[in-house]
Symmetry: C2
Subunit: 234 residues, 2 copies
DNA sequence: TATAGGATAATTGTATACAATTATACAGAA
DNA sequence: TTCTGTATAATTGTATACAATTATCCTATA
């Protein structure tokens, strides 16, 4: 029973259903399955070499995660993210990442602090070299560390979900050169505020980090991308 | 496809699985199934007159909602809420209810505003008469209206989940006389701030409302209740 | 041609069967 | 007694079978 959460991740990665779950999830986030696309249980099952049973169980969970929508007796469809959704998510994340940074200031372990520092340095290196893929990975990890450091399973899972949910957007955002540089600087400032034990500053900077990320997306027209494939949705 | 959400509720209430889902969920929240208790798929299925298949699908969703924990090849257990969880939830809710109130100030419809006013008046009436059950219902509805008024499906579902998640606690909280009165007053103030279009005030008051609710719980020793049945968890 | 109706096919929803894993009970040895 | 190993039972994990619902296509008719 040890560990439980508001929205526990699917933990048994090595059961059939666990593999199916993670595979479909990945394929949605990577864009293999497009918004509005219908997923057939039998087809997915064949592709992955399993029967419909584990596929359906995975579908049900992905539905609750908001990536799929199961319409009774009709089919299962990939859900899209609207511009409004993205805006709302960043509004919510701004507050929660702020809270997370505040809590992290009080609860971060030495080990986590070290990894965060290392992350900041490495990311700046990759930025200077133009390694955008690695930067995206570093960015991912920075936030993961932050989430782990706040010592709140509730908050951690909540933020992780949001983080993944906007994955499709973020990938592109970071490849914009200027944002990459600015983002790195903001990470550094947050890291230093946490290290200095200044929770107010850490909270404010984390708030701002999200607002800036969103503003950047908007300015670069990266949001208009959404609400487009909706034609496929009927 | 019309409607999709980060964490959509289980919508097909009238399918077998939908009924199973809502029944089990209710039985957990009402305390019929206790923390740490093991739920057998076959047993639940028999009780509800269905096979294991819909039961398992419901389990998988309840797991993601955090009410159940499925341990591979072992069993499914009712998860508990720890004191820490309650604290974290109220911290998070404080921020999000604040945001919600701010957005509601801008987006509430006349109809919703009327229902909210009516709710406040009715709740004060029930308080004066000592109708605690009705008050609890009114309290529930007040927050529901607030969530609906913010015009953000994301935030609405998030808050609804949290709201339900601490249902077990809140029931008792409101039966404490003093808190009932104070809670009503706070609802009135929030309602009036929204009506006056003062979003800053609405946000602050909603923040405070959650903090007060939590403080009250703590003062009255209603939190020590948790972390108790944990003996069953091994 | 365009439309309505109905047979057929395809897909989802649920039940059941079987495999894999884990729990239980009991016998025997230290 | 207490521990260990093994056989048995119970439970979960997955596959398959069948029922219910929905989509598709063809035909007949205006």
């Amino acid at each position: 029973m040890a560990d439980y959460n508001l929205k526990d991740q699917v933990s048994d990665k090595y059961s059939l259903r666990g593999r199916v779950f993670h595979k479909i999830r990945e394929d949605i986030l990577n864009g293999k399955y497009k918004t509005g696309e219908e997923l057939r249980e039998a087809t997915i099952g064949e592709e992955l070499g399993v029967s419909r049973t584990p596929v359906r169980e995975a579908f049900r969970q992905l539905e609750l995660e908001g990536l799929l929508k199961m319409v009774p007796n009709k089919g299962t469809y990939v859900t899209g993210i609207t511009q409004k959704d993205v805006k709302d998510i960043y509004m919510i994340r701004s507050l929660l990442e702020g809270l997370c940074a505040r809590l992290a200031t009080e609860n971060i372990t030495d080990e986590q602090m070290n990894e965060m520092e290392e992350n900041v340095y490495l990311s700046e290196f990759h930025e200077s070299k133009g390694h955008y893929d690695q930067m995206a990975q570093m960015d991912n990890r920075f936030h993961e560390i932050l989430y782990e450091s706040c010592d709140s399973k509730m908050l951690e899972h909540l933020l992780r979900d949001f983080h993944q949910y906007v994955y499709r957007v973020r990938k592109m955002t970071l490849s914009s050169e200027k944002r990459g540089k600015a983002s790195n600087l903001e990470h550094r400032e947050i890291m230093e505020a946490i290290k200095a034990g200044n929770c107010d500053k850490a909270e404010k900077l984390a708030n701002l980090h999200m607002i800036n990320a969103y503003d950047n997306m908007r300015k670069n027209g990266l949001i208009e991308m959404f609400d487009q494939d909706d034609s496929a949705k009927k």
